[in-house]
């Protein structure tokens, strides 16, 4: 097992806040994130979990420099997030596969390599290797719409890994899949994580998924979005179907669930605020 506490920090967030301007006159500024401090080390698998509107996707976007912070600093590989994005340190996977219908599966995976100017031969070889990694080597010439939802998401993962990114950012990547496919994709992702050694930051609203996959689970609460607790997942490093039956697994699931409930504790206009924040992050 890698000692994550000792490995180099990859992502350092300090005092990160993010507020959205009111979209309609009269509505108030929405505080999406407030006072976030977090360090993620090389090779970690960190999940962000929390209720809708807690800013977990916003936090992911802030790390990936897809949205600017209002306050605080984001340091990735020792440089500002914007620089890290320009250096192509990120691989991004969304809830929707976002594959392009006008490209074959192979050409979809080649897209980031085209943008970075990798020569055609090398591009094809690299894309093939990535598709092999996600076990879709037989589908290189298919069109995206000919694949099932789980397969499409595997193509998206292959594409995200094509540039060998330091950090894989995943925004509820399996949220649209059925439970069976989702569990299989979880195992698949762990296998890929093990083989590539990439740092993974994973947004989910599934407690079992977060516990099963992660080395650490970051529990967030809404209004304003902040970290309420970080749960260290001390399950065996190598996880399989039986991990889900370990007593320790259930204890950790319960711990995360309780942390989530504590974060929800505030009474009052929580529902209203959540709807507003969701509207903005959508």
């Amino acid at each position: 097992m890698i000692d994550h506490a000792a490995s180099a920090p990859v992502v350092q967030l300090s005092g990160v806040s993010k507020s959205f301007r009111p979209t309609t006159p009269g509505s108030s500024v929405v505080q999406a994130l407030s006072g976030i401090d977090l360090t993620i080390r090389k090779g970690e698998f960190v999940s962000f979990i929390g209720p809708s509107g807690c800013g977990k996707s916003t936090l992911l976007r802030v790390i990936g420099d897809l949205t600017p912070t209002t306050e605080g600093t984001v340091t990735v590989n020792g440089k500002p997030a914007e620089r890290a994005r320009r250096d192509r340190d990120y691989g991004m996977v969304f809830q929707a596969p976002v594959l392009f219908d006008w490209r074959s599966v192979q050409k979809n995976v080649e897209l980031p390599l085209e943008i970075t100017g990798v020569p055609a031969g090398e591009r094809a070889a690299r894309a093939k290797a990535m598709l092999d990694l996600v076990e879709l080597a037989d589908f290189t010439d298919h069109q995206p719409w000919q694949l099932s939802g789980g397969m499409q998401q595997r193509v998206a993962i292959a594409r995200a890994l094509a540039l060998d990114p330091a950090i894989l950012l995943m925004d509820e990547p399996f949220g649209a899949l059925d439970e069976m496919t989702r569990e299989r994709m979880n195992l698949e992702l762990l296998r890929i994580w093990e083989r590539t050694g990439t740092t993974v930051i994973f947004v989910t609203h599934s407690i079992p998924e977060a516990v099963f996959l992660s080395t650490r689970v970051v529990v967030m609460s809404a209004r304003p979005g902040r970290i309420t607790e970080i749960v260290d997942v001390d399950l065996p490093h190598r996880r399989d179907v039986e991990t889900r039956e370990l007593e320790r697994y259930f204890e950790l699931v319960t711990r995360v669930r309780e942390a989530l409930r504590r974060g929800e504790g505030n009474p009052g206009t929580a529902g209203q605020a959540r709807v507003r924040a969701e509207g903005l992050s959508a």
């Binding site: 219908d101 897209l111 980031p112 943008i115 719409w145 000919q146 397969m151 540039l163 950012l169």
Partner: protein, 273 residues
């Protein structure tokens, strides 16, 4: 992994024989209507200036084929000129409109409004403007009709790429030019083809109607006007059939081009037009 893709089986699509079979009902209906028409005119002794028989119209092709083909060619040149001007203009202005948000806010409501007025009403004005006996005046009517659908659909298509697709490109630090060429343009292609299909029909209408208000005798529009006034409806109808064939032919060409250039989007084009 073994999750199967049921869609993979539809990959090859229907065979040519299946395609032919698909068209049988339409073909039967078409022949049936022509037969019923022919019989109705004979049985009820309808005068030719009210409704000529299909076979009598077909006969005009034997009697005046050369003349009709010459008239159709003259009009076809106007249609193609108009399509070229309208489509290229629509594409250029559409790209510029999509590119500059300020320009877009100013021009889009105007474009949508103009698109819903009867532009064809300007046909006599265009005749004065660009020369009654010049093909350009009819081409400009056709161009004006095509311009707005092409422009509006170009803008909508270029802006149709979903937000995550743009975010994905940004996560690769892709320059704007790459986002435009690799995401926005391909996403716009099906929208543009939809506009082109409409334009193929509109350009034909524009040219023929433009000719009604004055054009050389050799044009299809004037041919129809002339023989209608002579009450020679069989001959007028023959010219109308030519105009119909032109519209349908151009439409089919656009559909074929779409299947070749944008196969990912072309599946519904003939049925849903």
């Amino acid at each position: 992994m073994t999750d199967v893709a049921p869609a993979a089986q539809v990959l090859r699509g229907p065979s040519i024989l299946d395609r032919v079979r698909e068209w049988i009902p339409a073909a039967v209906l078409f022949v049936g209507i022509l037969t019923a028409w022919e019989l109705a005119v004979r049985v009820f002794s309808i005068q030719q200036f009210i409704l000529p028989r299909p076979l009598a119209i077909l006969d005009q092709w034997n009697l005046h084929g050369t003349e009709l083909t010459a008239a159709a060619s003259y009009t076809l040149v106007e249609v193609l000129m108009g399509l070229a001007i309208g489509v290229i203009g629509g594409l250029v202005v559409g790209v510029a409109t999509a590119r500059f948000a300020g320009f877009r806010d100013a021009i889009m409501p105007f474009a949508v409004a103009v698109n819903s007025i009867p532009i064809i009403a300007f046909a006599p004005v265009f005749n004065n403007l660009f020369g009654l006996d010049k093909p350009l005046s009819k081409a400009m009517v056709a161009a004006a009709l095509c311009f707005f659908p092409v422009m509006i659909n170009t803008v909508r298509g270029l802006l149709s790429a979903p937000a995550p697709a743009i975010e994905l490109m940004r996560s690769y630090a892709a320059p704007d030019r790459e986002i435009f060429l690799k995401v926005r343009v391909p996403a716009a292609v099906p929208y543009v083809f939809t506009a082109l299909r409409v334009s193929a029909t509109l350009a034909t209408i524009g040219a023929v109607i433009g000719e009604y208000f004055g054009a050389p005798k050799i044009s299809l529009g004037q041919y129809i006007v002339t023989y209608t006034s002579y009450l020679n409806f069989e001959r007028a109808w023959a010219a109308i059939v030519y105009a119909c064939a032109m519209g349908i032919g151009l439409y089919v060409l656009v559909v074929i081009a779409e299947r070749v250039l944008a196969p990912w989007a072309a599946d519904r084009s003939l049925s849903a037009g």
